[in-house]
Amino acid sequence: MRLRDLVRKEVAELAASRAFWLLLLIVGLLTGQSFITAMNAYAEASGIGGGAVALPQGLSPLDGILTPTLGVYDLAITLLFPFVAIRLVANEKSSDALKLMLQWPASIERQIAAKAISLIGAWVVSLVPFGIALGLWRAYGGHLHAPEVLNLLAGYTLRFLLTAAIAMAAAALMSGAANAAIVVLAFTIGTWALDFIAAGRGGIVQTLASFTPGAALRSFERGLFRVDGVLVMLIISLFGFGLAANWLHLGRSIKARMAGTAVLFILAGLGVLNVLMLVRSSFDLSENRRNSFSLADEQALAQIREPLTITPFLSAEDPRMMDFENNVLVKLRRSLPELRVVYPLAGRSGLFENNAHYGEIVYRLGMKTATSRSMTEEIVLETIYELSGVHAPPHEASTYPGYPLAKRPAGAALIFYAVWPAIIITVILSRRSRRKIHKTAV
């Protein structure tokens, strides 16, 4: 049987689902609200109100427009899309249609693949409001950097795929749609908890937490394409789809399905382990190279062969620690493969730390150590160059010009709050009335 026929069937099922149309309606409204708010804030930072204008270099469309607008989709992926994905499996289980499908001359794996493809199609359709926002932004004269946009979309698509896979696995494993929804929400909350617990802790917990959907998404939002993150998300997604197919084989004994789960778990575990050990490459796709040092500094750092250990005496939620993590350690991890960061403090807030060294950052390279309290990139690099004996290159000023745009989002409210809902509601009503006509005819 052709995969195309199976996909056609799944698309028809999605189109018949009221949940999907409601999702489109809500996503459109929320995207509009986010975009309009972001545009107004961006216009004000660009000096539209006559107040102080922010430094142009600080005005990046990635931070100011793209990330907040697409951020709505994180909400949709967490709270709305799981129900659409669960419905695709749970309805067929509860109506016993699955028993018919298991007898079709198409393996259940192929059928799950068709469901995944149709869900990706649904995801692409749901991105139409974001596409409208991008179009409006360009029409207002806004700037876009294609690699940033594509990277961000890739991140959200992977996040969507992961959620769809977990939702389908939960629907296959659990006895009803409500139970499956609880499992998916528990998974999401679990990853949030891991993210929270692991912040500033170091070790394997922090490594694992860097692959949670939330953490992975943050990398994409910074314009960073982490190959390891992408591979881990793909492996977990495949694991989820595999799990769904395994548990929908109703003709297999529970023992056989448990064995199948174990095999999938081992394969996924080995895959993730291999990625963690072997894959380190990442690409800075941000236009302002926010995840990288200057090229001269990268070349200078590449000369350091010895492992560098950095011990920040700062608690996880100290804003200085967050700045240090986001502005310096991210870049150092990309430039120094032999970097080790030790997090010596257990407290989260730092309010009750009674450590004489609190606020210090200790650098150790071979037998040499240095201590500093500064978290700025320049001082950190200077400290590392002094320890290593590598000659510091001359400072290069950023060439990123920044893209201020002092314009209000004229017409956006009409499109997102009137035209989009009108289109979706018209489709919903026309589908309903078509059914009513048939019922009356009967």
Partner: protein, 218 residues
């Protein structure tokens, strides 16, 4: 021989639901599986169709298709969509004469969800007939149908069997079973108690009619 089941057994937890069940169904015949509630008729069908696991035994069969009892597959889709889908999934053309035969023409654009019990049953039978498989297992094909519809469906099934398809029907109404089937498999507590034509069963038990056979053997 189009379907041969030998020594089939299945457990659900600690409960033995099928024990050493053996039977055959020949090309072009209608085999009725009868038995009291809980005898294991549906479990037998689902094991044979491969949608439930079984613990032991052997199933030799041509390609078969099983339609469960009282299902409303894809409730948001229309009757026509469901039948067209079934035919397409088996790479055959949907024969719209099926809609005529089963009085579904007026309902073809109605959603499956909106069908009454009897209408949904006619759709289930149509789904089975839309498949080109040479062995068709229908669970309770007359349940929910009125007398006229029951006779009409019997007639359709007879015609289908005459074309060479083997039909295995699970039926709890013995009067319907007696009218519709060529041979019978009597199940009780997961065991096959008897198999044969009505004449064979009555001469074996000395009973008159299928109901008497049922009462004598279960």
């Amino acid at each position: 021989m189009t379907l041969e089941v030998t020594h089939l057994s299945a457990r659900r937890g600690a409960r033995q639901v099928l024990a050493d069940v053996s039977f055959t169904a020949n090309r072009g015949e209608i085999l009725g599986v009868i038995g009291p509630n809980g005898a294991g008729k549906t479990t037998l069908f689902e094991c044979v169709a491969g949608v439930l696991p079984f613990d032991g035994g052997k199933i030799d069969s041509d390609l078969l298709f099983y339609v469960p009892d009282a299902i409303r597959p894809w409730p948001d889709q229309t009757v026509r969509w469901t039948l067209t889908l079934t035919a397409r999934m088996f790479a055959t053309q949907f024969d719209s004469a099926l809609l005529d035969d089963l009085d579904l023409v007026a309902l073809q654009h109605a959603t499956v969800r909106s069908l009454s019990k009897g209408e949904a049953k006619r759709l289930d039978i149509a789904v089975g007939l839309a498949s080109p498989r040479t062995v068709l297992l229908l669970d309770e094909p007359f349940d929910g149908l009125d007398l006229r519809q029951t006779r009409q469906v019997m007639e359709i099934l007879r015609r289908d069997a005459a074309k060479g398809r083997t039909l295995v029907l699970s039926i709890h109404q013995l009067s319907d079973a007696a009218r519709a089937c060529d041979r019978f498999l009597l199940l009780d507590h997961g065991r096959s108690v008897a198999e044969g034509t009505l004449n064979e069963l009555t001469s074996r038990t000395g009973a008159e009619g299928l109901e008497e056979v049922f009462l004598a053997l279960t």
